[in-house]
């Protein structure tokens, strides 16, 4: 048995077929067995087993919930009290978080057991997990390939079943792209659905926490608990969270699926294009009605994103100055030199590059030409979606133009790396929810992701459509060779 759903784990825990401690031990052993993937930055078995023991006590009582005792992994961007929270960076390589992110707090309160903190691109800046100070992560489907990024550790961990489920974050595609590369279901909810409190900020108007899971049903279960208003995050929206699970089984009959012609043009790998066409046919067989739409400005979402995200990053990352926490250089003569050396030693190349782009586009003389221009384009991109959603209920297309690439293949070429996010980052610019789900494999045996984008705050429709698709297909149940239990 290699695929066990959260539901089956929950049933086993509640029927005492397995204890939370035993379950945690199984996964901790796998994490050690497959440490070559480098999916985790921190594993603290004492910490994990203490949480598991507490969960077992809750399970003895009647007030345990559906997630009590289920292990999970957190992306190392979420502050977890008492554990190293490095964000994949040397500058935070000594940072033991003094508090919990709201996401961590909520899942702790639900009785979930933290297996560890997963590897990631430094400060979530990357699409391959190669910018981590802790080294690259390997894709379980082919260990010479990248797992995608920036939530690459979470994706590799769930794909190899080192954890049944994991948290991630998505600023331009960082949940959906690794989900696609690793054959997983990954959802980025609407901006404001999940609290960003304690989630280390990269680009504040784009960042959103979400889930990497084995199925839409599992993703719905975790997202249910993660979501909702948080007074500690002024951008988290005070709106009721719908019952995602209750809507999973809804019929797709009459649902209009919009196929943006910009997502099916040139530049897409032929295996990916073919697979997405087949997935559309499956959705059609379930009653969905394809309609052609246009997202005219979406080809410019990458240029727009690579102004806005670095601009916000340069501002957010100014807090890392070697004064209050994090790395401080050993040698300096004055305050400015202390800042400069601490930051230069602490940040990796890609992070420095993005800080500098951000400083450049925000600097006097360039602000209007770059930053304001990008914000105007951002409105056009968001307006395109609003127009499109008059004609359709869910937008359907590929998550990425190609499947996982070889390690080091794009590491030296930032522009080539950025183009990975061509189909994903427009949803972040508009704040819309998106999900990637496995839809097949290319000729090299690497997973292909199908992307669904929904209306603002309509995660339900995405999870519903993904779940119905997964009842009809079994792509999400495929499992990488060599990782059997």
């Amino acid at each position: 048995m290699n695929n066990f759903s959260l539901h089956s784990l929950s049933t086993a825990l509640h029927h005492k077929t397995v204890s939370a401690v035993e379950l945690a031990q199984i996964f901790l052993a796998r994490i050690e067995q497959f440490s070559r993937l480098n999916a985790f930055i921190t594993v603290d078995s004492k910490f994990t087993l203490a949480q598991a023991q507490a969960a077992d006590q809750l399970l003895q009582q009647t007030d345990s919930g559906p997630l009590t005792g289920i292990p999970l992994a957190h992306k190392d961007i979420f502050c977890s009290k008492g554990l190293l929270t490095s964000c994949g960076s040397k500058i935070l390589s000594n940072f033991i978080a003094p508090y919990n992110a709201t996401v961590v707090e909520r899942l702790n309160n639900a009785g979930m057991v933290t297996l560890g903190k997963t590897n990631m691109d430094e400060f979530a800046m990357g699409s391959s997990n190669e910018s981590s100070w802790y080294g690259p992560v390997h894709n379980p489907w082919n260990e010479n390939c990248v797992p995608g990024g920036s939530s690459g550790g979470s994706a590799a961990a769930v794909a190899a079943r080192l954890a049944p489920i994991a948290t991630g974050t998505d600023t331009g595609g960082s949940i959906r792209q690794p989900a696609a590369f690793c054959g997983l279901t990954g959802i980025k909810p609407s901006y404001g659905r999940v609290s960003r409190y304690g989630m280390i900020a990269f680009a504040s108007s784009l960042d959103q926490g979400g889930v990497l899971a084995q199925s839409a049903r599992d993703a719905a279960m975790l997202l249910q608990t993660m979501s909702g208003h948080d007074p500690k995050d002024s951008t988290s929206v005070d709106r009721p969270v719908p019952d995602f699970m209750a809507q999973l089984e809804h019929s797709l009959a009459g649902k209009r699926i919009g196929l943006p012609k910009e997502f099916f043009g040139e530049g897409i790998d032929s295996d990916v294009a073919k697979t997405i066409e087949q997935a559309v046919a499956v959705l059609k067989s379930l009653g969905a009605i394809p309609v052609e739409i246009s997202l005219t400005n979406s080809p410019l979402s990458i240029p727009c994103y690579y102004v806005i995200a670095p601009a916000e990053a340069s501002s957010n990352l100014s807090r890392f100055d070697g004064v209050r926490y994090g790395h401080r250089a050993a040698q300096y003569h004055d305050l400015i030199e202390m800042y400069e050396r601490s930051r230069s030693e602490g940040f990796g190349e890609e992070v420095k590059r993005r800080i500098m782009i951000g400083s450049y586009v925000l600097s006097s003389g360039y602000y209007d030409a770059y930053y304001i221009k990008a914000q105007k384009l951002r409105r056009l991109i968001a307006d395109d979606f609003q127009q499109a959603f008059k004609a359709c209920d869910v937008i359907v297309g590929p998550t990425t133009p190609s499947t996982a690439f070889q390690l080091n293949a794009k590491a030296g070429d930032p522009v080539a790396m950025y183009l990975n996010d061509i189909f994903t980052c427009s949803a972040n610019l508009a704040g819309l929810p998106g999900i990637s789900l496995p839809a097949g494999f290319d000729q090299k045996g690497m997973p292909i992701g199908l992307q669904l984008i929904g209306r603002y705050f309509d995660e339900s429709s995405l999870l519903n459509m993904a779940h119905r698709y997964q009842q009809q297909t079994n792509w999400h149940q495929y499992f990488p060779k060599g990782y059997q239990f």
Binding site: Y306, M356, K376, P414
Partner: protein
């Protein structure tokens, strides 16, 4: 627009990053390529468009002006590289 090494050094200064001469050459090349990508934006006429700074085009919610946090000074200061008497230590700023 291509950026040269002196521009890189200028923006590295704004960013409080120490950059060697060798790195300046390297970053000048990659930043120029990125700016070339970014400049595709200029093909679109946006004169009549209002900028969109944030996906939530609405005012932020405000909380009541009440003290909700307790004092965590010792916890937070324990993370600092250098402290003394409840203060963060940095090199002397005023001679």
């Amino acid at each position: 627009m291509a950026v040269d090494e002196s521009t890189v050094r200028y923006i590295a200064g704004l960013s409080r990053l120490a950059i060697s001469n060798h790195e300046a050459v390297h970053y000048a090349a990659s930043l120029s390529r990125i700016l070339k990508l970014v400049e595709q934006m200029h093909a679109v006429d946006t004169r009549q468009v209002e900028p969109l700074a944030h996906p939530q085009d609405s005012p932020l919610t405000l909380r009541d002006d009440q003290v909700t946090e307790t004092d965590h000074r010792d916890t937070f200061m324990a993370l600092a590289p250098a402290t003394e008497d409840g203060l963060y230590l940095v090199p002397k700023v005023i001679e």
